[in-house]
Amino acid sequence: MIEINNVSKQYGTFHVLTDCSTKVAKGEVVVVCGPSGSGKSTLIKTINGLEPINKGDIRVNGTSVCSPKTNLSQLRSKVGMVFQNFELFPHLSIIENLTIAQIKVLGRKRNEAGDKGRKYLDRVGLKDQAAKYPAQLSGGQQQRAAIARALCMDPICMLFDEPTSALDPEMVNEVLDVMVQLAREGTTMMCVTHEMGFARKVADRVIFMDAGRIIEDTSKAEFFGNIEGRTDRAKQFLSRILQH
């Protein structure tokens, strides 16, 4: 589904990503973790071309993201993305947030898009909030609405960029619950997150990044089950995460 081959990216002399390669198969849930500044957010944003790369190639469902011939908008409409700061559009009501891309990008009829939007709002538990504006919702509600917005596009895979790190602690779980449910339904997912509980519960593989490189790319069982077999960096990271 997603193939990342030898991807490198640099700003001037600063290497954000160095020779990163990995694959995400259909139905697979991959969690990407690592200390801040390790390049994990940048990596996930390269997958739908929000961050251009200097070297390597990325393919989504066989289509190259980096080729100038690719219709990026079309490709992006099939890849759902959830952002750290929700990024709902403040001037649109929640239901309009969910329908605008369906109407403008996929060309769906307004009522068809509305039906789909309400269906997904119901699924994330926000049926009653359709007419409200983003600023009237709590952070957790906004993030759930943002997930629903991405799902409305019928994506072939979902990208999550630290979806819970801007949330107050008491709201983290309501968002994680939605993500766990998605994972259990077989959604192809790549998640940048520090929530190791989420990783233990639903991840198939765990990728650990540091200083722009993929240092570990192993099964969940190996990553959490065999602490001794981890690199020093990953051990350090895990112990720091577990302490707090």
Binding site: F83, E87, H91, A101, K132, Y133
Partner: protein, 248 residues
């Protein structure tokens, strides 16, 4: 300081001494009409050009951004009166002969109004451009990413996501610019367009009552100011977003 000055507010109702069938108040009203026509036409141009250039300055394309930057650099750094003289005295000379001749055969007032509208429109457009640009730039960077990630094209992202919010952010400073268009329109008096301030000056020559005539013109400008503020406040309230504080 007015001990030798004889006030006469009735002067406005006297018929004008040129024999035209009107009084001096009529002259002032004709001036007000020109001021309003000039300011409103110019603000339409300023808004259209300003939005386009403001968007260009925020696009990832370096050449388009440079085009916007150059426009702002030129039109903000030459005094408006010099720009006006350039539009009115210079441009017709530089146009192809037939176009220049055609322009010079138009009624004088049309020539002046056209030059003044274009001048003020592009001069104010540079300021609108900066407001739109900073409106867009105060939006969180993730908004653009989120719009693109949903598959919206860049123009769609501007049309449906970035600009609607940027406009709302820019309303208070746009209000000041709307007032400025009216104030700056007085510069058109220097090429002979008989707008409000020019009529006030003309009244000084004809009536020898400068204080009354300036006072009335000044009061009208203040009134225009108040009206613009009230209208823009209505606009601001009607597009306000529930719960949204603005910007970052």
């Amino acid at each position: 300081m007015f001990k030798n000055y004889s006030w006469d507010w009735g002067v406005f109702l006297q018929p004008v001494s040129t024999g035209e069938p009107t009084n001096y108040l009529g002259w002032l009203l004709a001036g007000l009409y020109n001021t309003v026509v000039l300011a409103l036409s110019a603000s339409l141009i300023a808004f259209a050009v300003g939005v386009v250039m403001g968007v260009l300055r925020t696009t990832p394309n370096r050449w388009l951004a440079a085009l916007g930057t150059t426009y702002v650099g030129i039109f903000r750094n030459i005094p408006v009166i010099v720009q006006l003289f350039a539009w009115y005295f210079v441009l017709p000379e530089l146009l192809p002969d037939n176009v220049g001749t055609w322009f010079k055969q138009l009624p004088a007032s049309t020539q002046m109004m056209t030059s003044a509208v274009l001048c003020l429109g592009l001069y104010m457009g540079a300021r609108v451009c900066e407001l739109i640009r900073s409106g867009i730039e105060t939006l969180p960077k993730g908004q653009r990413s989120a719009a693109l990630a949903l598959g919206l094209t860049l123009p769609q992202a501007y049309r449906y996501v970035l600009l609607p919010v940027a406009f709302r952010v820019a309303i208070p400073p746009l209000t000041s610019e709307m007032i400025n268009v009216f104030k700056n329109s007085a510069v058109a008096s220097t090429i002979g367009l008989l707008e409000l301030s020019a009529q006030a000056q003309q009244l000084v020559d004809y009536t020898a009552h400068p204080y009354e005539s300036f006072a009335v013109a000044t009061a009208v400008y203040i009134l225009i100011n108040v009206i613009v503020v009230l209208i823009m406040r209505q606009v601001e309230v009607s597009v306000r977003l529930p719960g949204y504080i603005g910007g970052k």
